[in-house]
Assembly symmetry: C2
Homo-oligomer: 441 residues x 2
């Protein structure tokens, strides 16, 4: 039986807000590559929304829209419920009802799980269904998977994470611009990085929700949000952020879970970390989680901590896991090379001559003032654009200058021609050194 003959995974979604629309959009746009990886089609069959007319303008006609979310969780044709409705009251009832009906659940709702997780996971265990929640912590980063599957060999010693993008953005602004917490918050709100009611974020509650889930996965302890010590960043003085910087430190809001000889520490608070530490390099609204464990040592996981499609990436990964693990035609759920065996296709691999990168060039030059115009002329003629040019003292020979050129993106074949011309200049000594340069953003 070919794998694509499997019935599609039928998804019922609760809510069509930021995360719901992101999930719908990415499932549509990337349907082909997702099916190539999964061996099964994903189908959003039903969506529960408040405003049916608005929703009808957003999704295709083949999606059934309902305004009662219980119709979704009770529908016998739905395999998986994606809960992106938010909150902890109706969401709890819906998730428990879905589980009771034998449906898997995917959610990105950290508040729900941090508060009602014990009840929800016990119900799922009893029913033999999955409640997946990769999107609940540091959305785009597969950190739940790393802890739950990647680091299973290890005793975890501690976790320290920047797991709230709003506060990290505010702290980055306070450091970079020397502004107060209040001003940085107002700026974050204006730019959409902070909610109109920012209390959940800036008081550290959102980070504590996520830390609760990380700690249970790391240490095998129950979910215990109420035991987390929580301090936000509202009391932080811009002067202290600046003083810390002067001393070589940066202030970050960290969620820390640590085993100590007596048991566990669970705490969210502003923390000085050395400026050269990797966590100090996590800027703006980005997230990162560092894990120290006995065999693997320190590992770190970095990515966006918020966003529509960034969260959708995690929600869909959970759906793919479900589709793969419930497949009966394979003994193993994950293909060797990520894609289904039959879906692996050749793509032409570029000859290196055709590849474009930026370049660093270094020329050892005599008679600088005479040679420099010729270098620039040659590069222009060869169609290699100059981004930056610096003349430096040559470390080995006082008679020479080192001319360093940073170029625009250029094919290697073009660069080779330019270099040959430069090396033919009588006042360019020896070879022209070249190293590729990448921006990687």
């Amino acid at each position: 039986m070919p794998l694509h003959a499997l019935a599609p995974l039928r998804i019922g979604m609760l809510g069509l807000g930021t995360v719901g629309m992101g999930t719908y959009t990415v499932l549509q746009r990337n349907a082909e590559v997702i099916e190539a990886r999964t061996g099964r089609r994903m189908e959003i069959a039903m969506v529960a929304v408040r405003n049916l007319a608005r929703a009808a303008s957003l999704v295709d006609d083949d999606v059934e829209l309902v305004d009662d979310p219980f119709l979704v969780v009770n529908h016998p044709g739905i395999d998986v419920v994606v809960e992106v409705i938010g909150g902890t009251t109706i969401a709890r009832d819906l998730v428990l009802q879905a589980i009771a009906n034998g449906k898997h659940v995917v959610t990105a709702n950290k508040a729900l799980l941090a508060v009602h997780g014990t009840e929800i996971f016990a119900a799922a265990q009893a029913q033999g269904v999955v409640v997946a929640y990769e999107g609940a912590v540091a959305v785009s980063i597969p950190i739940i998977k790393a802890l739950r599957e990647g680091l299973t060999a290890n005793h975890i010693e501690w976790i320290a994470g920047i797991i709230n993008g709003t506060t990290n953005y505010i702290l980055s602004e306070m450091k970079d611009k020397g502004v107060s917490f209040a001003d940085a918050l107002a700026d974050a709100q204006a730019k959409g990085y902070a909610e109109a009611d920012p209390a959940f974020d800036v008081e550290g509650v959102d980070a504590a929700h996520k830390l609760t889930l990380l700690a249970s996965n790391a240490f095998g302890v129950p979910i215990q949000f109420d035991k987390v010590h929580v301090e936000g960043i509202t009391q932080l003085d811009a002067a202290d952020v600046a003083f810390a910087e002067r001393l070589g430190y940066r202030v970050k809001l960290l969620g820390i879970a640590r085993r100590n000889p007596q048991g566990l520490e669970l705490r969210v608070h502003p923390t000085l970390v050395a400026a050269e530490h990797l966590l100090a390099q996590v800027h703006g609204s980005m997230n990162a989680v560092m894990v120290k464990s006995d065999a693997a040592g320190v590992t770190m996981y970095y990515g966006a901590g918020a966003g529509s499609e960034q969260t959708a990436s995690a929600v869909i990964a959970d759906l793919v896991d479900l589709a793969r693990s419930s497949s009966l035609v394979q003994r193993h759920r994950v293909p060797s090379l990520a894609f289904q065996h039959h879906a692996i296709v050749e793509l032409p691999v570029a000859a290196i001559d055709d590849v474009e990168t930026a370049y660093y060039l270094r020329l050892d030059v005599a008679s600088l003032s005479r040679t420099l115009p010729k270098i620039l002329g040659h590069l222009a003629q060869a169609d290699v654009r100059v981004q930056q040019l610096e003349v430096l003292e040559h470390p080995d020979d006082a008679q020479l200058n080192a001319v360093v050129v940073l170029t625009d993106f250029t094919q290697l074949r073009v660069l080779r021609g330019a270099i040959a011309g430069l090396e033919a200049l009588p006042t360019v000594m020896g070879f022209v050194r070249s190293i590729r340069m990448e921006r990687l953003v």
Copy 2:
């Protein structure tokens, strides 16, 4: 049926070198936590070694030692073969034989898979067994899992990785100490970061092996090591490393796989990256892989790129995946909170007063010369040790100084007492500000 009643996963290991001993050691030391996560015991039943006497001194009596590795791959009682024998000739024969016998295989042998992967994965697909290889790329980092499972929703745009620790160590030394490639290599060899024959590492071949595997997982293309453009770091001039630094860049050996409009780029070469870029912050023998994808955006995965237990961490994670996925008593292989439901236990969570961290303290002080001795006396009396003390200009009040103190690790209850004493000093104005400080190494 309680989960621990499942028969143990019976492991046959080929080789007992660095990775083999690491795997054995971690499986022994962490047996309890691994079983709590897996719901099944791991048992190294057989090990094939060259030197039986030496091996007998290293492992427990209940491990059967043989000097013919084919006895392991042909043994009917073995569920999984762990190939840590290395090389691409006998290792290939053994892995194919194990697959033919219906056994799963776990390997960390990137050369084997980069060269013979197509044949090996096809055989595994035909037999319905798993060939797992998380340890083959950036050992401690679950990057294969991230690509294969975490980012399944995404079109991957590019991958850029520091995936060879030896060359990253050498480049870090060249930058930090201004030494030549040859001197940095000799130093790396003396310290055990480079092999006696370093060609595989410094010529970029090892990185190209790993890039081959990353690219297939990212793009769904066949394994094609022979199409990777490979440049090592042997031709790199220390002067260029220094010049690049002067211009705000750092030189890293990157493995890059990128989709472009024509197809694919596969290349390993020295690369300038901006000094403030995260990949520029990856020092010494550490590894990191950055992935750009359409929904998740940029994510990065960081950790040790070599080491006995670091590789074992990945090998065992693969074994746990196998044990979980071959379990018949659960519809889902991965427990909600990483640990088997029955294995979740309470640990006492420390009251925040008992938690020890270092602290940043800031005191606004009048009459500095009179007050400073009193501050130090108070801290000493309260048993708060001072690591660093700086006197800074107060930003708001020229009459005052800001005295910033970085303390040793101190319990909050102790610090509170000290702060109360300090605030009682008449020349300490207002509150003493305190922020926690962590080293996180």
